[in-house]
Symmetry: D2
Subunit: 337 residues, 4 copies
């Protein structure tokens, strides 16, 4: 921790600040500049609340010098984390395509869509059985029945599956059917859920909270990593801004930012980020061009009748065209789909 | 729902849009302006996803005409909701003061603070036993032991108590000790938790999510109301913006906005909103001047040693001064503390 | 304009609302739904302040049905605007690359960089002679001397040139040297400047304001179009959000959004959007993949010594590699660089 | 400047970083912690672009230790700046009320309103003669005629006057009539205008840019102060966020934040911040309770017919009631209106 003192700080105040720091267990290193004194407080206390020092008289600014996350950082692990799901290796040169409907609506629906996406080259099937809906009056998902259909469709077409888990009490049930747990944006800081997912042995994909900074997002990953589960991937799905033309603002620059700070794979979800079908295609291409390790795309055979988020689902033919483009863009940057 | 069509829309497209609306169960009312045709789609479908229409060819804009929330709206209930807790009546002319430490740290700590706040006129004692912490390495609360101390301190000093519940599995335990459930900002859209709280018979205070719009916040209230619990209050605690001088941006205008749209009481929490002690006092005064039905203030007898959020806790003497000011401001607007 | 009235509005209030609308010159069209009455106010008044109606008693919501901008809209002109600068045609299938230093620093510097970017395929040379700097103590540009060097470098290497104009009084001077006026983000709503640029006969590139919505940005274009200059292009350069890992959040989805709403070309500036060199390359690729009509990239032969924004300038070799990638991505979507 | 290096940085990289810093003219002070090396770079270069160091290999983070603004800071001047306008002293214990219409519309209008506000205790009359309008098709103000009416109304009722100046070329004209220059939110970073206002001898009120941080806002003040004009005050008018219930989000906490960082007075403008009449009153009270040195309130004798921003103007009777409340709140905090 670095403490910048006010210009012309009195000796009394200076001593008080130093005493406080020592009481908190730090060793102090003083350095006197032309205009100000700067203190270095040495000692590893990753969760020390730096506001405790910032509010002291005579203190101008305080900076933390260690990131609050450790296991998720590139400092901790230089090489990319590879997450194995069957033959797949997320985080490798291969860009993995996850596709499927927003929600599992029926056996027929999920089987049809699974066939379509398999055919275009997707490797993982998505579909929610428990839907987090902002309205209590909306369709809330099929529950376990939906999980069964999803698993069945995955098995039938040789696709791994991913589905959302909404509370600790659902983990065991969902684990019976899924290959990957999805943690929704609204649960990014549901700490009891993070902790319980950390005790499972299946990969977890953490969607970025609507207003989460990248640091907080990595901190959520840290919760799972620290609880013992090392198979974590991140999913950018847009952040909330003042712009209302799109459902959210797709923060594509988060992809290279995370790749620099962390070894965890990053998936991009242009469907939730934009919320409107005709924006999904250009933004999916953009995410791949920016280095995403995977895409998550909503596809529906009959979007007009979808029970949730139909307007952002691609038609099968659009998905197939997108896959063609994405394959070529991947090659340009030395990767493959 | 109102559908504004593009200028010079072709007859084919117009018919297709109308057909779609009718298929979704709406009755259509056409109105032809100088430049454009506007359709009124009549039929009550509060959760209809209007993007389904917005993406149709020839559609320029779509507006919902019914708010998505019903039970929470002033349209549904003209008079303020009054929430009774013992002798207290939240939502009345009396502005209720909730105070206490961020977390219950020990029996002695909570007893000391309870005495201090009682003495200055607070009516409800706060203190968390389960702490949602962004870091897995931080103090996570005393658990049930903390709940016991909190209840004991409340009983000793004749204060009602409020504490946070973090997951459905904790509800029964917390209910044994608390008078009011606090739903934290990070759980504002934890739908399983909202639903379960809706089945209890104790009041719930919903903190605004860090990037929640007022509409979404009221929608979370709707979840609880729709599940059967009519005792809901809201707590403004700051939203995330680009400004970093304060922890969050305290959206005081949310107070009059909600009072217009809804009958539910609004509490203001300047401690979490600003995150720094010397900003809490002016912002607490401001919230009362703007019409808040209550304040939630963090107070600690020894903030420098607090296990969490010490830098935003008022010292006892500051809290006492604040109470004096707040009483006088309440009078100016015809209320009392 | 559409006016949604409150449920159970009294006849008196309803009449008062209608009277007000008629006084403002609208013809009223009433439509009675199951729960509410909706009024259509017919009459073209593009600048009518709809809050005038929103504050009336009994009004629940008001929607404008005509966009406030006209000349900039796709409704007004279906085909893309093509902006001709010599042989170049901005807005066509060819993606135009604009490159150069942030500021013109010396004759030698701009000549060197012009040669480098020409060699890699750029078509337009950028460089500021008047620098808008947030600090009064920073380098403010070379002024007319800088304009001369820029023009000279452009002529020498057969590149068109673009440079920023900061106030109406500079227009004539800048016009002597430049091919395209750049209007900076901080001046997006400098209305006297917009109006004067509208009277010139050279193309204007409008950078998006740091917190401008897409609608406001198009409205600034409208100012210039309405003043008589039809050669307007837009430049996305990032918006301000709570995320601080990048200088701004590059809103790439603005590209397809504008292409749908307007006929004007959109350029992307990943250098200012991200502010850090190693993020510029992936984001430049992403912008092209999303459909940008051009890129504006900062390049410097010796960024460590640059007088402004060196850290976001690409090295010549990086720029050359980027151009190779961008050419291939353009092909994937049926365009060329 | 403080440079935090990566853990396990190689000696080569370390030397390279140090060499770069020395080349830029800094003296280096090295301090070795348990996990990392931290460098202090000593030397006063307030405008040094710290990204130049942040992008070097082996650098983990860089912090500036001197604020970029100097003349505006409390470090530079401990006592509040007092701005004298006739008998008035802005920044003193007296809270100054500025009121009037958005725009001067006619002689009669401004005379009527001046009488009304004088009567309720306002000290300064506002009214724009040049209107920055987002639409080229809206009312743009009366120009010099408006300035004359404003001055005449001020003189008639013994009120000082404030009006907006939009470009350097208008300064001389506006100076003939006004007592205070208003710099609009959209011009907060119009640097040529800031510089020219710095050469005048009349006070300038800087409205906060819609997405300006407090630091940037103070930096704009610095421009004027550094150009020689020491009479600068700031005006909070709301910032842009994702919340759309109010026109902007009124950042009341900016008031105590600036009072801590700077000696300049802060005025609050709840009319533009909220944009809707019935929110202006509670927010005006809140701003005073939070410590504002003045209020700027829009008042109109016939808001329904106002040529601009009528919906946010108070009716005379509302303004009078507000003044009563505000006087009492001022007393509570030891000030007066």
């Amino acid at each position: 921790m670095i403490i910048v003192l006010e210009k012309r700080i009195s000796d009394d105040k200076l001593e008080e600040v130093i005493k406080r720091l020592e009481d908190y267990g730090f060793t102090i290193h003083r350095s006197t500049g032309e205009e100000r004194i700067v203190l270095g407080a040495i000692g590893i206390q990753p969760n020390f609340d730096i506001r405790k020092i910032r509010i002291l008289d005579g203190v101008s600014a305080v900076y933390r010098i260690t990131e609050p996350f450790r296991l998720a950082s590139r400092d901790y692990q230089k090489e990319n984390s590879l997450i194995k799901i069957g033959d797949l290796s997320l985080g490798s040169d291969e860009i993995i395509i996850i596709a499927g409907p927003c929600a599992v609506e029926s056996e027929e629906q999920i089987m049809t869509i699974a066939g379509i996406i398999k055919n275009s080259g997707a490797k993982i099937l998505r579909g929610c059985a428990f839907k987090p809906r902002t309205s209590p009056y909306s369709f809330q998902g099929l529950g376990e029945e939906g999980l069964k259909y999803l698993r069945q469709a995955g098995d039938e077409f040789g696709l791994a599956v991913i589905t959302e888990v909404m509370e600790p009490a659902q983990i065991d049930l969902v684990a019976k059917y899924t290959d990957i747990f999805q943690l929704g944006a609204r649960n990014m800081q549901n700490f009891p859920l993070l902790r319980e997912l950390g005790k499972t042995s299946k990969p977890v994909m953490i969607k970025r909270g609507m207003s989460a900074t990248i640091d907080e997002w990595l901190m959520s990953a840290e919760y799972i990593l620290a609880s013992g589960n090392r198979e974590v991937m991140l999913c950018e799905r847009g952040i909330r801004t003042f712009e209302t033309s799109t459902r959210n603002t797709f923060d594509i620059s988060a992809i290279p930012v995370i790749h620099k700070q962390s070894h965890l794979p990053v998936i991009a979800d242009p469907s939730h980020a934009t919320g409107i079908r005709d924006k999904v295609i250009p933004m999916a291409r953009a995410a791949v061009a920016a280095g995403a390790d995977g895409l998550m795309i909503e596809v529906h055979n009959d979007p007009a009748k979808a029970l949730s988020d139909g307007p952002q689902a691609l038609l099968p033919v659009q998905f197939s065209e997108l896959m063609d483009q994405v394959k070529k863009i991947a090659e340009v940057i030395g990767r493959r789909v």
